[in-house]
């Protein structure tokens, strides 16, 4: 099936070359970071994780959201998802590769990354993150590929893949739960130290991932002439709506707990994020932009008239993605470090190098996604001819 990724229109070739160019540019900046050290980034002694780890956190959510297609399709026989479940699985594959790449570009000594395997440490949540992420990657690539191959040969998928499909459902929940535990399990960081972190992560993931899938479905219809189907899009839209409402509710729970109890170690981070402390207000416009776009998107999604309009639905999905990307892909990680344990306000902004490397990793993810989608869609279109 791989050969299908090699044949395509001029536009397809141009897109691939453009992505490759961005990957190469990102790679050059990464080499620079390797030789100089992480001092080239905006991170500091006080804000010791930045854009890379935030992107990692966000993308684990995108990966986990494949379950929002797998579960209705395989457990509830929701036939409308038959055409696009593979798109969810392949999105998970690409997202996990991005996650792993973001962790690696964030390491001070990437040459020692295999110490994770040489000296496995079960008391570290990072160990479990490695286990669940690699497992989820394998599950999705195997399931996606085998099911697609069976479809191409017009035979039912082999029996052994069914248990894997069922396993992938709780496994999707596990990857985002473990990633939430990574940050919620630290007593000294009041912003993250909340039991609702894992549920919050899952809710926002199940909004941002399916929103992205709707947008991809639009792109694919436009450029590849493959229609996901109105019903599939509308089902996804309802999932985004529910998840977005739950996500906002969870954020509200955080606000109540933090501002009603007024424990400074927890509250100061929220004050920094939404109002700024002293001169430190880098994140304030982003935090409000995330809040406003999130609420606006939820209203557009809740009202059936706007949700049923494909154009407005697309706009709402862009707003959902933007809102949650800012929240989880940036603010949530950074604000956890400000103020510091010594009450210092050391602000953070990503450096140019950091942004270029981040774009390179996104281009890598999009390249893998494009190739996988090209294969999947070519197979499906051949069958329909």
């Amino acid at each position: 099936m791989l050969e299908k990724a090699l044949k395509g229109s001029k536009g397809y070739a141009f897109w691939i070359v453009a992505l490759l160019a961005i990957i190469v540019i990102g790679g050059i900046f990464y080499l620079q970071q390797l030789s100089y050290g992480l001092g080239l980034t905006g991170m500091s002694r006080d804000v010791s994780w930045g854009l890379y780890i935030a992107q990692f956190t966000f993308l684990v959510g995108i990966a986990a959201s494949a379950v929002m297609l797998v579960l209705p399709y395989y457990l509830h026989d929701h036939k409308a998802f038959g055409r696009i479940t593979i798109l969810g699985e392949f999105l998970a594959v690409a997202a996990i590769i991005m996650c792993i790449s973001f962790v690696i570009v964030d390491l001070g000594r990437p040459d020692r990354v295999f110490n994770l395997l040489l000296h496995p440490t079960p008391n570290s949540i990072l160990f479990w993150d490695m286990v669940v992420l690699s497992g989820y990657f394998l599950l999705n690539i195997v399931i996606g590929w085998v099911v697609l191959n069976a479809e191409r040969n017009e035979v039912p998928p082999p029996g052994w893949v069914k248990p894997l499909i069922y396993l992938s459902i709780p496994w999707a929940v596990s990857i985002h739960t473990v990633t939430a535990f990574l940050i919620s399990g630290m007593a000294g960081r009041g912003f993250w130290n909340t039991a609702i972190m894992a549920p919050r992560f899952l809710a926002s993931a199940f909004a941002s991932g399916p929103a992205l899938l709707i947008l991809f479905a639009y792109v694919i219809r436009r450029f590849a002439g493959f229609d996901a189907g109105r019903q599939a899009i509308q089902s996804l839209a309802k999932i985004v709506t529910y998840a977005m409402v739950i996500s906002l509710f969870f954020l509200g729970c955080e606000f109540f707990t933090v501002f009603y109890t007024q424990i400074p170690d927890h509250m100061n981070h929220f004050i920094y994020l939404y109002r700024g402390i002293g001169d430190g207000s880098n994140l304030v416009p982003f935090a409000w932009l995330s809040g406003i776009t999130g609420i606006l998107a939820t209203i557009l999604l809740l009202v059936p008239k706007t949700r049923n309009n494909p154009k407005i639905l697309g706009a709402a999905c862009i707003l959902v993605f933007l809102s949650l990307w800012i929240e989880k892909g940036f603010a949530l990680i950074i604000a956890g470090f400000i103020p510091s344990p010594m009450k210092k306000i050391m602000e953070y902004a990503p450096s140019g190098v950091e942004i270029m490397i981040t774009l390179g990793v996104w281009a890598l993810g999009l390249l893998i996604l494009t190739l996988l989608y090209k294969i999947a869609i070519s197979v499906k279109q051949e069958l329909e001819l």
């Binding site: 002694r45 006080d46 020692r112 395997l117 496995p120 570290s124 394998l138």
Partner: protein, 258 residues
Amino acid sequence: MDESRRRFLKIIGLSTLGLSGTAVVEAFAADKADRYLSYEQAFAGKKWAMVIDLSKAAQACDGCRNCIDACHRIHNVPDMDLPKNEVKWIWKDNFEHAFPAQTHHYLEQNYQGRPSIVLCNHCDNPPCVRVCPTKATFKRADGIVAMDYHRCIGCRYCMSACPYGSRSLNWRDPREFLNETNKEFPTRTRGVVEKCNFCVERLAQGLMPACVAACKEGVLSFGDLNDPASDVSALLSKHHTIRRKPHLGTQPRIYYIV
């Protein structure tokens, strides 16, 4: 796909699975170290701790950097160019920053802004050790939280987990920022985390930690909590002492006399 390629891919896939599987199995079989007979004079059983006398600090620490300089010199701690890249093992901060929960509007005038020496607390229940994914940071039998600079992958999980801000990453090559190098202690490479090691290398030679030896004013005291005759045991029995952020359950081994 032809049959041989398919078989090749299957073998590759299965071996990758097998490799990661052994890692998980090994992880649970690990922790079999320390199965040596212990040397009679070994440190086993000791509980090292430090007492810092803040009542003396107001005068003694004003303008004095003896402990900091001594520590940073013998441990090859670099003097970085930018504050964001800073590496420090022991430093001075305000009372209010070292003890945010103990601060209030009516704090005795002379405690406001009082210099407080801070360093790694060598917690009895260290969160940094709990989160480290490679055991590069670990707790020794004598309670010292130590680091293996050759194993650290620079993920900085420990920096996030430490509630005292005691850890630094080498954001750049630290060797470029050393005026002189102490050949008896390793320098570090860029990309690894480091922190105070309670002078394990000096304790092994029967010497007091460098900061304690350098402090002429008696602000810093060091000793074994298991030994009732030690300086620290004597000070702890006589004075009311506090620790940084005790509510987090980390059980710091640095005690402060107020």
